[in-house]
Symmetry: C2
Subunit: 147 residues, 2 copies
DNA sequence: ATTCTTGCAAACGGTTTGCACATAC
DNA sequence: GTATGTGCAAACCGTTTGCAAGAAT
């Protein structure tokens, strides 16, 4: 968590094979210097203060690029559309990045329950563990390299 | 996981304060008897085989109702819109059900790393723990009872 | 000079909403 | 009889896409 300056950000983008534009710099920095876990819209509003001409489309494209190369994380959604489950007890899910199939992960995560004391003043009602990866069917058919 | 018959389903719906319709029965049962974690669209297609007149809108409304009373679970999305995070290391999130704010949960879940052997043939690349609940700011302002 | 990126606007698709009719209670 | 649920279609809104102009290498 060292403090980064503009040069560091530029270097980071280059290291990840991205062309450097002031838009990308602004978007990445806006995200880097907040703890808010903002939406694309929120980032857009933030960046627009400095660069009024930037478009929401660019924000989406840039976030997707940054996500692809691993510079940022998507908190959600896990899958493209909502998925439902009649099993309401606490259990976890494995989501295939390729075919979007979901398997229950009880057998894997097993008895390892995460203890969540009511702490930080956050009252926890549910917990959900999501494992992202490749299911047996898709694992073999992945040809391109995964970082 | 006892095997339920129609009467049981009807009773379950009633116990949760829901009026019983054959649409609700069909939707709930379709979800109950699959491990596929289907989308609303998939459930719609399934139920339509028996009840061709059912509409997709009804499926959505019913799923939302079932979710509200706790009979089913939503696997995703966690929040209404995608949210981003520049911290790419494995860490977890607390999502406030009220204001949709997201906090990092490292301090709570702490060092409890979930060991995920490559098992079941599922290759796990990332894991994400999401805690749903109420943040300090919203906790006080919740007036209606939570089941 | 070539390739990649931006901005704009339209399209897309999952989900929600409004309303008249039908059904559950 | 009254409240609730359904079906249909339109609206909604976050996100993606296509394309011409602009910027990065």
């Amino acid at each position: 968590m060292e403090v980064k300056n503009d040069k560091d950000f530029i270097a980071t983008l280059r290291e990840h094979g991205l062309q450097v534009t002031y838009q990308r710099l602004a978007i990445y920095q806006a995200l880097y210097f907040t703890k808010e876990h903002p939406s694309a819209e929120a980032i857009y509003q933030q960046v627009r203060k400095r660069f009024p001409m930037i478009s929401l489309g660019t924000v989406y494209k840039t976030l997707e690029k940054l996500y692809e190369v691993g510079l940022i994380q998507k908190v959600s959604p896990i899958t493209e559309v909502a998925r439902y489950d009649a099993i309401t007890g606490p259990h976890h899910h494995m989501v295939c990045l390729e075919c979007q199939s979901i398997q229950d992960a009880d057998s894997i995560v097993g008895a390892q329950k995460i203890s969540v004391p009511e702490q930080n003043g956050f009252r926890v009602l549910r917990q959900q563990v999501v494992l992202h990866g490749y299911c047996p069917a898709c694992k073999g058919s992945i040809t391109d390299s995964q970082s």
